[in-house]
Symmetry: C2
Subunit: 253 residues, 2 copies
C-alpha cells in the first residue's frame, strides 16, 4: 500500500571480488535500482565490498540501520568464497542455522540432479530467524531477515528473487521521470536548467552528457513524485529550450 | 616504482542520481577497477551516492582516510547538479577557487567553440590547492587534490583522465589472475576449490557461476601477486578437475 507522505529508502551492498577486480561488469545495481523505483522505494546508496567478512559486516550494519530496506547481492552460493550468510548473521548478532524449508527445497530440486551434497547444503544455511525468498530458477532461495534481503549475485537469478518480492514491500509514491534530450552542449543550457528547476520546487532536473557518433549531447531527466508537477516542469523546459533555439527530442536520445 | 612488500589500496565514489535511479548503467566501476589492477593498486570499496552534498562529503571522508587513493567519478560538469567540487572541498575543509590553469585551458578550448560562458567557467572551479588531470577530449580537466582524484562521469572522458594518470601513482605488485571455466555446477567442485586454495596460501580462488544458453556453469578465477605461485595453483586446480572427470577450458568460458 503506497504511503505518499513518507519517502521510503533502500541501500544495496554488492558483495564480490569479481566486481572490484574489474573482471565482471555489475548488472545488479541497475536491476535493483529500477525495481525499487517501481516499488516506490528510493535507492540512496550502494556499496561494493570484497569477499572479506569484516567488510561486509561493516557495510551491512552501516546501511541497514539508516534505511528502510537493505539488499545484498552475491556470496550465497555453495563454494568456500560464499560468505554472505555468515557475514549478515555476524552483523545481526545471530547464529547461522540450516533452514529446514531451504533444506527441503534443495533436496527436492537436486533429487533428479545428483542429490544434495554437503556443498549444496551450504545453500540451506541462513541467519537464525530468516524467511526465504523463492527462486524458481536454481532452487537455492534468497534470504530475508528483518529489513535485510539477500539476493543471488547471478543477475538472472537475482531478477527471479526480485520478482518474488514484488508487491511485498511497503513503499511510497514512485518517483516519476521524463527525459528530454538533444545534441546540445549542456554548458549552453545550464542557466535554463537551473531556472526551470527553481521554478518547480517539487521537481529535480538532472543533466547527463554523452559523447556519441563524434558529437556531444545531453539528456535532461526531470523527476517528481507528482504527475502534474512533472508535466508542468517538462513543458516549461521544452518551451525554454525551443525559445532559445535548441533542437531537442521529448523522450530523450 | 612498484613496492612489492606493501599492498596499495584505493576506493571509488561514484556520484550520480542517474546510477541510483537505474536509468544509467554504470561503466566506471569496471573501468577504474581494471585500470587500478594494472597500476598495482587494489580497489577495496566502491560507494555510489546521490547528488546530495552531505552524502558525498561523508563517503569521501570515510574512504580517503582509510585508503591510499580515492577516486570519484561524476558531477564535475557545468550544470547546477554538478556539485562534486563543492562537496570534495567541504570534505577537505578548503575553499573552492577558480583554478587559473583550468580557466586558461577552457578559454583556449572554447575560443573556437562559442567562448567561455559562466556555466563553462564552473568547470574551472577546484578545491584550493588542487592539480589538474588533463582531458584531451572535452577541455574540462579532472582534479587531483591530496590523494583524491576526481574524474568525469562520462566513461569516455573518465578513460582519458585515467590514461593521463597512468604511471603517476605509486603501486605494488599487480594482482595477477588466471581463469579456468566450464559448464560445471559449482556445487559439484566446491570441495576441490576449497582444498586447492588451502594448499596454495598465497593464492585466492573465486567461483563465479553463470547461466548461459540454458546451461549452468562457472568460471574459477585464481589470483596471486606471485606468477609462480599462480601457475602452480592453476596447475593443481586443472589436475584436480581432470582427475574428477570434469570438462574445463583454461582461460575460462
Amino acid at each position: 500500500m503506497p504511503s505518499p507522505d513518507r519517502i521510503w529508502t533502500a541501500a544495496l551492498v554488492v558483495i564480490g571480488d569479481e566486481i572490484l577486480s574489474g573482471r565482471t561488469h555489475d548488472k545488479n545495481i541497475a536491476q535493483v535500482a529500477g525495481w525499487l523505483q517501481v516499488q516506490g522505494i528510493r535507492l540512496m546508496e550502494v556499496r561494493v565490498v570484497p569477499d572479506i567478512e569484516v567488510r561486509i559486516v561493516q557495510a551491512v550494519n552501516a546501511l541497514r540501520t539508516t534505511h528502510d530496506y537493505l539488499f545484498t547481492t552475491g556470496g550465497i552460493g555453495p563454494t568456500h568464497d560464499d560468505i554472505s550468510v555468515d557475514a549478515v548473521a555476524a552483523a545481526l548478532g545471530v547464529p547461522v542455522v540450516v533452514h529446514p524449508e531451504a533444506r527441503r527445497i534443495l533436496e527436492d530440486y537436486y533429487a533428479t540432479r545428483g542429490g544434495v551434497s554437503e556443498a549444496r547444503l551450504r545453500m540451506a544455511r541462513t541467519p537464525e530467524g530468516a524467511d526465504l525468498i523463492p527462486n524458481r530458477m536454481s532452487g537455492a532461495p534468497g534470504i530475508k531477515i528483518g529489513n535485510v534481503h539477500m539476493l543471488a549475485g547471478v543477475p538472472h537469478i537475482a531478477a527471479q528473487m526480485l520478482d518474488a518480492l514484488t508487491g511485498t514491500l511497503e513503499g511510497g509514491a514512485p518517483l516519476l521521470s521524463e527525459t528530454v534530450g538533444g545534441f546540445i552542449k549542456e554548458s549552453e543550457v545550464a542557466d535554463i536548467l537551473r531556472e526551470v528547476e527553481q521554478a518547480h520546487p517539487n521537481c529535480q532536473i538532472g543533466s547527463y552528457p554523452f559523447f556519441r557518433e563524434g558529437q556531444v549531447g545531453a539528456n535532461f531527466v526531470i523527476r517528481s513524485t507528482d504527475a502534474n508537477d512533472l508535466r508542468s516542469c517538462v513543458d516549461s523546459l521544452c518551451e525554454a529550450l525551443a525559445e532559445a533555439g535548441f533542437d531537442f527530442t521529448p523522450g530523450g536520445i
